[in-house]
């Protein structure tokens, strides 16, 4: 019972944050709503027993990636959005489309999922078992993602560096 109440509480916060991201006109408000979504998702992961994933979600996603977003919004001084013709058309088709889509997903899932439930903290194991899996069965994807991150670092530095003419002659 308490599980259901907590799930619904954090679920409502999640959906409210997601809808707020769509409704707000200034990107900084959207960014902060996304941080709220990530925080409540971390709570949902804790309810499922995935404590390490919840901690990583807060440290990496909400604490680093979103800080990067906020940083860029501050740096570029992004202002409020304007309503253009394109955005009006998109809203007329997009919002009903999204509602229909989510209702369809909900209906399909409720009809076909049966009555399987998960208990609180259903996932087994301390982070140790996760680390074992990561470094034994999934070693190749791990190494590939580390190369990917290296490429991303180099790419980001090259792309965001000021152009040649703007650099001072040392």
């Amino acid at each position: 019972m308490l599980h259901l109440i907590l799930f619904l509480a954090f679920g409502v916060v999640c959906v409210a944050g997601a809808v707020n991201l769509l409704v707000q006109r200034h990107p900084i408000n959207s960014a902060l709503s996304l941080v709220v979504v990530m925080g409540s998702l971390a709570a949902e992961y804790l309810l499922l027993g995935a404590e390490f994933v919840a901690a990583v979600q807060v440290i990496v996603y909400a604490g680093a990636v979103m800080v990067l977003f906020v940083f860029v919004i501050m740096l570029l001084n992004a202002g409020e959005e304007e309503r253009t013709k394109g955005s009006r058309v998109a809203m007329i088709f997009g919002i009903p489309g999204m509602l229909v889509g989510s209702l369809l997903i909900t209906w399909v899932l409720l009809e076909h999922s049966g009555t399987q439930s998960v208990a609180v903290g259903a996932l087994p194991g301390p982070p140790k078992t996760l680390g074992w899996l990561l470094f034994h069965d999934y070693l190749l994807p791990f190494e590939v993602t580390s190369v990917l991150v290296l490429i991303a670092i180099i790419g980001a530095v090259v792309l965001a560096a000021p152009p040649e003419s703007a650099r001072r002659k040392d």
């Binding site: 902060l32 901690a55 680093a64 940083f71 501050m74």
Partner: protein, 345 residues
């Protein structure tokens, strides 16, 4: 097992006590800093309000409450008001997982001196430190002034850069202890080498200890890494446009962060609350608290001592130090520790 009402009641009591102790500690850390820095600079520090100026924090609190809480017209109001609250909330949250002693039993109920012992206690502290960047960044941006924006950007870049070295320096300790739970890390440090040297993590992990201290000084924006609030350069950095209670909240957040860093360092590297126990049972229950408090006081004194002594880093020196020196050193420490542990087992 406790019933849920008892559990909630005990947790509430522990939370209230911990918050009260933390806020008093924050106020008196400010007093300690003013006295110590004053004496280092060959002057007295606060002496007039109460004996040795001990009532100075009270006078400061009254001043902050009665000062005019000005909201300049050009700021982005929602974030301007929310940013100091965010900073304080995240600074005070870490106290929830910090243990200060073993279990005690009062009136037949056994409870540990920690608000909650989670399996991932250390990760929660790291997560809350990561979230603490938001208070600073949003304060700098919402103030709509160039000093604040520059201070906010510098502060967030600095905090994000040194978070990595902070986390990596702690992984060596985690390898030695085998758990994320702070209580288990302290328990792994009981016993002695050679019969008289305590088995504290500072001895095998002294490099990690220094990396942690330096990264923590950068995370809490203290000298020598306090460029974001450098008085001589940026007026007051990200809290230029703040006054009265909101400014006091930033102040509180900074000192609460210092205390959290001191707590984590003493738990992970200096053996927590271990120390000689003697005397009647009541004294034996209270002595671990005293030893813990002694370590915290030592760390705070070192913080203040360094503040009174060193000049500050320039911004490019600061970033180069974090990325090019601390991070490779932390990774090297991690590799060597893992190697030694793997060979030994």
């Amino acid at each position: 097992m406790l019933s849920i009402e008892t559990f909630v009641a005990i947790s509430l009591i522990k939370t209230v006590i911990a918050l009260f102790v933390l806020l008093t500690a924050v106020a008196y850390t400010v007093w300690l800093e003013r006295k110590v820095v004053g004496h280092m600079q060959n002057r007295w520090g606060p002496t007039r309000v109460g004996p040795f100026g001990l009532l100075q924090p009270l006078a400061d609190g009254v001043k902050f409450m009665f000062k005019e809480d000005l909201i300049p017209p050009h700021v982005y109001k929602p974030l301007y008001i929310a940013a100091p609250m965010l900073a304080v909330v995240f600074a005070l949250t870490s106290i929830a997982v910090i243990p200060v002693g073993n279990s005690i039993s009062i009136g037949g109920i056994q409870t540990s001196l920690q608000i909650t012992d989670v399996n991932i206690g250390l990760l929660i502290i790291l997560g809350v430190t990561s979230l603490g960047v938001y208070g600073v960044a949003l304060a700098g941006w919402s103030s709509n002034s160039k000093y604040s924006l520059l201070g906010g950007l510098r502060a967030s870049a600095q905090m994000v850069s040194y978070e990595i070295a902070l986390g990596l320096s702690l992984v060596g300790v985690l390898i030695l202890s085998g758990s994320f739970s702070l209580r288990e890390i302290v328990d792994a440090q009981s016993g002695t080498y050679l019969g008289f040297i305590p088995r504290w993590n500072i001895f095998p992990q002294f490099i990690a200890f220094f990396i942690y201290l330096m990264a923590a000084y950068a995370e809490t924006n203290r000298i020598p890494f306090d460029l974001p609030e450098a008085e001589t350069e940026l007026v007051a950095g990200y809290h230029t446009e703040y006054s009265a209670m909101k400014f006091a909240m930033f102040f509180m957040a900074e000192y609460a962060n210092m205390i959290t860093v001191a707590c984590v360092a003493s738990l992970l590297f200096l053996g927590g609350w271990h120390g000689p126990l003697f005397g009647p049972p009541l004294l034996q229950a209270l002595l671990p608290l005293f030893w813990f408090g002694l370590r915290i006081f030592g760390f705070l004194f070192v913080y203040i001592w360094i503040r009174g002594t060193l000049p500050r880093f320039r911004y490019d020196q600061l970033m180069a130090f974090g990325w090019k020196f601390l991070l490779p050193l932390a990774i090297a420490n991690l590799v060597v520790t893992a190697f030694v542990v793997a060979i030994r087992s």
